[in-house]
Symmetry: C2
Subunit: 421 residues, 2 copies
């Protein structure tokens, strides 16, 4: 098949690897310039947490060995409590239960190189502006590109999605979080470099950091968007809200002034495909708030599922339909989980009850290895489909509820018996 992919982000460039690897003719059109390093480059790029689903997909296309050297392991959460106390919570019970911090640019570069070797052609600086759904063909500012199928891997504000769904009875849910974010740099962190650091500030902010290869960390400050935009003296703000983070950020004032406020969007929609001619993957099909660290991982997993569907189905129409029905229930659940985790990240040191639950969960996982798996572990360290993970966690919780009720009942009986004596 002659397949045209819009977008050379994680999803688009991984899909190019899969499809070129299967012998399809693949061309990728990307609005931005080639991300591969050039001389005039300052080299800034966001970093992302790679976890089991992403690792699985990269293993699939034979790329994981090339990726490892570009990652920094995150072995657990380093939680900065009030008063500056840092507690380390390991992510799991074994060494494959960790996350891996990687620069978006490094990952995408590897994927593009790999796909190019497999025969895919990349066209950078080509913004897609229109779509002919019937042929199908896409239109860039440089001309019309016919294809057998068009893939929209063009992110949360997908142009392909808008054009594909225009005038069609499509469901579409777009929600912006009332919180925005800003990226800041921590040149050197004194303790726990191999960790994801969190400053949970309840309603007053949240900082999450990912480590970089050079020993620095990229910190993301989340705050209600209005308050974030209103900060005129960032050092005063940090001195009040995150006093222990302030000394870690020598360039705070300058960076704060330069960097834009980012917005966070959640998108759920259907259909993901049209008549075997157009299909969406990654953020174009489903975008989530980043608090479970699964946006890119689920985008990569999409490619694995779509590749399987294309290989198994009679024709693209059947493959795309199978892809959406196999996948959407799970990404809908991921949306839900990502919302919940926002509260969890913000509140974790404040709520002793929550910590207790978390500890019970981990304890049970140790006592009943393989039989009791915490939800976080299933989502981040396994490839159990998201909805199945949630369902299993609910069953586990029900058991925990039973047990707790049983224990309380026994306790009550014991006390009654004592009184009776």
């Amino acid at each position: 098949m002659n397949i045209v992919i819009v977008g050379a982000g994680p999803a688009g460039s991984l899909l190019a690897c899969y499809l070129a690897g299967r012998g399809h003719r693949v061309a990728v059109y990307e609005r931005r310039p080639d991300p591969r390093p050039r001389d005039d480059d300052e080299g800034r790029s966001i970093n992302l947490g790679l976890s089991a689903r992403g690792v699985k997909a990269l293993t699939d296309v034979g790329l994981i060995a090339d990726i490892w050297p570009l990652t920094v392991p995150m072995r657990g959460r380093a939680v900065h409590g009030p008063g500056g106390k840092v507690t380390f919570h390991p992510y799991g019970t074994s060494d494959d239960q960790i996350l891996h911090s990687i620069r978006r640019r490094d990952l995408v570069t590897k994927l593009i190189d790999h796909a190019t070797e497999a025969g895919a052609a990349f066209h950078f600086g080509h913004k897609v502006v229109d779509l002919d759904r019937d042929r199908p063909a896409l239109v860039t500012e440089h001309g019309t590109v016919p294809a057998d199928a068009v893939v929209g891997a063009d992110g949360a504000f997908s142009t392909v999605r808008t054009l594909m769904q225009r005038g069609a009875p499509a469901d579409f849910h777009q929600e912006f979080l009332s919180w925005g974010y800003k990226e800041l740099t921590i040149p050197k962190v004194p303790d726990y470099h191999e960790a994801l650091h969190v400053w949970p500030g309840g309603d007053d902010g949240l900082i999450v950091t990912h480590p970089n290869l050079d020993g620095s960390m990229t910190a993301t400050l989340f705050l209600p968007a209005g308050r974030l935009a209103a900060i005129t003296d960032p050092e005063a703000f940090f001195a009040e809200r995150f006093p222990d983070a302030l000394p870690l950020m020598p360039d705070l004032a300058e960076e704060f002034a330069q960097r834009p406020v980012g917005h966070l969007v959640s998108i759920r929609t259907t259909p993901w495909h049209d008549a075997g001619k157009v299909v969406l993957v990654g953020d174009a099909a489903h975008a989530v708030y980043p608090f479970y660290g699964q946006g890119m991982n689920s985008a990569l997993e999409d490619c694995t599922v779509l590749d399987r569907c294309l290989a198994a189905a009679e024709d693209p129409a059947a493959a795309f339909a199978a892809f959406e029905s196999a996948r959407r229930p799970h990404t809908d659940v991921l949306d839900e989980l990502s919302r919940r985790n926002f509260v969890e990240l913000r509140e974790q040191v404040r709520s002793p009850l929550h910590l207790l639950r978390k500890q019970a969960d981990l304890m049970l996982a140790r006592l009943l290895p393989g039989r009791w798996v915490p939800l976080y572990t299933m989502v981040s360290h396994s490839t159990t489909p998201y909805a199945d993970a949630l369902a299993r966690s609910r069953r586990q919780d029900a058991v925990l509820g039973w047990t707790a009720a049983g224990a309380a009942g026994l306790l009550a009986l014991t006390m009654l018996a004592r009184k009776g004596r």
Copy 2:
């Protein structure tokens, strides 16, 4: 102010009455041709149920006396049960608790004439294709129209909304019902002309009719969209599902083939306005499934609220913000109520429990006049804001729950006491 309104539907043309009446310079741009009757006209138009909120708005602009002669009262529901039995349920306890069937075209014609007299200018056949948010100005195929403020009254698939929200962090929820509809004609109905007729078919369809001035009725058949599109022999379908409706529709086969399948959309979004320069009203701001018969009524009520906000506020920016905060919580609740009523309409003869509740509700309304008001009565026959109506109904239900629990408790005690003897 120089105000440009996009769309001459119920909302746009009523708002033109309000604003021209207050001395603003008003121009309305409407994509379709002038709806006012011409010689070459076949005169088909959908009819809608006008209720208290719409009546209030039309009274406000001094138009209701001109409207009454164009309406047919609907004094209650005529429910067609299985076996063809028709039961009549009056809408309320007094004569102002009825609905009024009116042709969309008749209503809009009166509004346009009235607004024109008050000084508004209407431009038909002018499709708006672009919006300059900063000036602001709108662009039609015939040129650019500058204004102090642009109002998007251009319906559920509002172009103004899309252009106003482009690139902005807007929440947007669009959902298509899996059911579609088709409009059919009943030339003459044997009984209860002054009623809204319902054939509740559970999962297998729903027919709702509104009476016309000429003694005919317009019937709307609702059915899962796929099944509706798949019907090749409508007479056979009616013979099986709605045998008692079949003889009322002599032109069924022909009409069924000619008329398109309609789709039903629900839209919730925010913001409704931008910087005092653009604002949305009616279906452009909130579209609901039609099962509570409140879409147009709420669109008309919007105009009343926006007119008040414009009169009271310092500047348009404050007025538009006040309008959205005053109004959106209520239209969000209407969305919820309209979804629920879909189930209610379909299931009403099938569920005896539901009928019992409904009867208890009406009985209590009669026993406690003014103190117990059924939700349907508040929504359709009053101008109590939707969310307030729902809150009050919940309080009433809580009391009913209490009473029922109390009664059950008493009963149980009585039985225990008897046993004890």
